[in-house]
């Protein structure tokens, strides 16, 4: 395959990485140790990302890789957390540490839930996934922060789904210390015919590195809805690595409001015929805000569908980035690939950088991608105002309308309403200020 050529990393970069890693203690023992060791070796060979790296052209990695964490103030929204009214199984981490008291009992029908840290068996099902999907996702583009995560994450959850799970599992990430540096690594395996909805919410820490590997077997369904927490100064680098079997369904939606630095990478491999993958994101940024969605979807089976819908609302100098690629391997005929990334710029100071890519080696496929940046539609604004709706409120309506295509990717209507309500509340607070 003709890909981004891997350049030999320069020695200074590797030396800097070695210095950084030498100060860290990799967790030892248990079934995950070989994978961690392997990840550290891979990381030392590729080096932590630097601003000069092509894949980090639009997002500066330094605050995500530095030894010192930039402190982040704790934000009290003064309102119940998102999803609070939903019947769900809560698993709570505070600054990356498991919070047993705040968490529910981990037993639930059709699913096995364990903490990474406490899974002491020598042979564990997660061994086939932990660090495995992450390592597969390192080619053709390196993702050093994910290898870093595999090597150094001390905790996370291991979820094995064996049937239809009756209620969502919700991972809640509380932020309590202004200088916390959290690393979590989750593994999800949805066995054949299984069905799970996974929710995530909360700012997690001053700096959060999270990796989630999701293996979706044939005819299994995985749904994922996350909100990343409104702490203005938090930083996060997250990775989702997914592998999809035959006739499986993978749907993920992310809402990001605030956060000074967010890089969300999603790397999916459609390996079974007739699989469906939808990735969507809605983000709202105001001021000192940088949000990067980086997506790589590989079609390696026949008659699969993938859909990427990313919408960003930016104001007061906020920056949005989208790097999205669809790779259709030889033989992945009848691929249906769709990708749209759009920004709504509410003033002249904000910027949106988009790099949509298609790389296709099959000859019977339908792939499309589009990217736009625009301001509020003056015609629509006048229409709403002419009906008596004040300018600020009318702008909010049009903002919601802009985000709608992404939000509508959430299948469950109640969850969709919950997200819309959060967005409305965020907009309303901006207006009230």
């Amino acid at each position: 395959m003709a890909m981004l050529k891997k350049k030999a990393p320069d020695q200074r970069k590797l030396d800097a990485t070695a210095t950084r890693l030498d100060g860290l203690q990799r967790p030892t023992g248990g079934w995950a140790e070989p994978a961690r060791k392997d990840a550290e070796a891979r990381l030392r060979a590729m080096g932590l990302p630097q601003g000069r790296d092509e894949y980090w052209k639009y997002t500066r990695p330094d605050t995500l890789t530095s030894a010192e964490v930039t402190p982040a103030a704790i934000f009290d929204a003064g309102e119940p957390q998102v999803f609070h009214a939903f019947d769900r199984l809560k698993i709570v981490f505070t600054d990356g540490a498991f919070d047993a008291e705040a968490s529910d009992d981990l037993s639930l029908e059709n699913v096995e839930i364990e903490r990474l840290r406490e899974s002491s068996a020598d042979i564990h099902w997660a061994r086939d996934v932990y660090g495995v999907l992450e390592a597969r996702g390192q080619s053709p583009v390196e993702r050093p922060l994910a290898a870093f995560n595999t090597a150094f994450a001390e905790d996370g959850v291991l979820i094995r789904v064996t049937g239809k799970v009756s209620k969502p599992i919700c991972l809640i990430y509380n932020h309590a210390s202004e200088t916390s540096d959290a690393i979590l690594h989750h593994v999800v395996k949805v066995e054949e015919g299984g069905e799970l909805t996974l929710l995530e919410n909360g700012p997690a820490a001053a700096r959060f590195n999270k990796c989630m590997e999701i293996d979706v077997a044939d005819r299994a369904t995985f749904r994922h809805i996350r909100t990343q927490g409104r702490d203005h100064e938090r930083r996060a680098a997250t990775h989702i690595f997914g592998r999809l079997g035959e006739e499986s369904v993978f749907k993920s939606f992310t809402l990001t409001a605030n956060g000074v630095m967010t890089r969300n990478e999603v790397v999916l491999e459609l390996t079974g015929d007739d699989a469906v993958a939808h990735i969507a994101g809605a983000c709202m940024g105001d001021g000192d805000f940088h949000h990067d969605d980086t997506v790589f979807i590989t079609h390696d089976a026949v008659n699969c569908e993938s859909r990427q819908v990313f919408k960003k609302v930016l104001r007061n100098g906020a920056v949005g980035v989208f790097q999205g690629k669809i790779l259709v391997e030889k033989g992945a005929q009848k691929t249906d690939g769709y990708q749209i990334s759009q920004s709504l710029l509410l003033d002249d100071n904000s910027t949106f950088q988009a790099k949509p890519e298609l790389e296709i080696y099959a000859d019977d496929v339908a792939c499309s991608h589009g990217s736009t940046s625009g301001a509020i539609d003056e015609e629509a604004l006048f229409y709403l105002r002419s009906r008596g709706i004040p300018e600020g409120e009318a702008t909010d309506y049009l903002t919601l309308a802009f985000l709608a295509e992404a939000v509508q990717e959430i299948d469950d209507e109640a969850l969709q309403d919950e997200i819309v309500e959060r967005i409305s509340a965020w907009l309303f607070r901006r207006r009230a200020r």
């Binding site: 539609d377 709403l384 105002r385 002419s386 709706i389």
Partner: protein
């Protein structure tokens, strides 16, 4: 009710005078029609009255119920009783028709210092009014004007007008894009709203709409001015002879 005096308007961005001294008074309870050829300034007049950006008033005045409206924001004019039924109603994906209309009704009430309408009262009222206009429940739930046919969009405009109960209704080329049946339905909706304390300004290129919405007064506009005013018979005259003679006198 609506008093326009010597109104001069140019485009903000370029040096082009569109309205060159319009004088017009619409009384409560009356329907005034403005007819005129394309480019005569009819639509500009409707936009200037409802507060659309892009125009600069260089001279003259316009008052609604004695209040100078030209310095008001569009939403303030709406609250004061102005309503413009758009020639091309705008599609707003992601915003439910009913949500939008309820916000509009309550925003206007709030601006006037009135109590907000409860959601049960609102529902009751909108259902009754939608029924009269043959707007089904699905259209009320769908995003504003998205996927609506030309006729549905215009009916939706009239539904908004009925719910907002304005003092002055401006209909901008409401007949455009309508077949005969749709025009009848829309006209009936408009006629049902005629009342002694409400004025109408119906802007149209063709006479046919005026068969359904009978005007009290007809004005002919040409080159940015009202060039002739008369009764309903004036519309028939235009229908038979075209606008040529009025353009000559302009």
């Amino acid at each position: 009710m609506l008093e326009i005096k010597n109104l001069h308007v140019k485009l903000e961005e370029e040096d082009k005078q569109i309205l060159k001294g319009v004088d017009l008074t619409v009384e409560a309870g009356k329907v005034h029609a403005i007819m005129g050829p394309n480019g005569s300034g009819k639509s500009t007049l409707s936009y200037v009255l409802s507060g659309r950006e892009g125009y600069e008033v260089t001279d003259g005045s316009a008052t609604l119920l004695g209040e100078d409206i030209l310095d008001l924001e569009p939403e303030e004019r709406a609250a004061a009783g102005m309503f413009l039924a758009f020639q091309y109603p705008v599609e707003i994906p992601g915003v439910g028709n009913m949500t939008f209309l309820r916000s509009a009704v309550n925003a206007q009430r709030k601006a006037r210092g009135e109590e907000e309408m409860s959601s049960s009262d609102f529902l009751k009222e909108i259902r009754a009014k939608a029924k009269e206009l043959q707007i089904d429940a699905d259209m009320l739930k769908r995003p504003v004007n998205v996927g609506f046919s030309g006729g549905e969009k215009k009916r939706n405009e009239i539904l908004q007008m009925a719910m907002l109960a304005p003092k002055l209704c401006i209909l901008d080329e409401t007949d455009s894009g309508l077949d005969v049946d749709a025009m009848k339905l829309v006209s009936e909706g408009v006629n049902a709203l005629r009342s002694p304390d409400r004025g109408f300004l119906v802007i149209t290129h063709y006479q046919r709409l005026l068969d359904h919405i009978k005007p009290d007064v007809v004005h002919i506009m040409s080159d940015g001015k009202i060039v002739k005013t008369g009764g309903p018979e004036l519309a028939l005259e235009v229908e038979n002879n075209g606008y040529a003679e009025f353009q000559e006198t302009a």
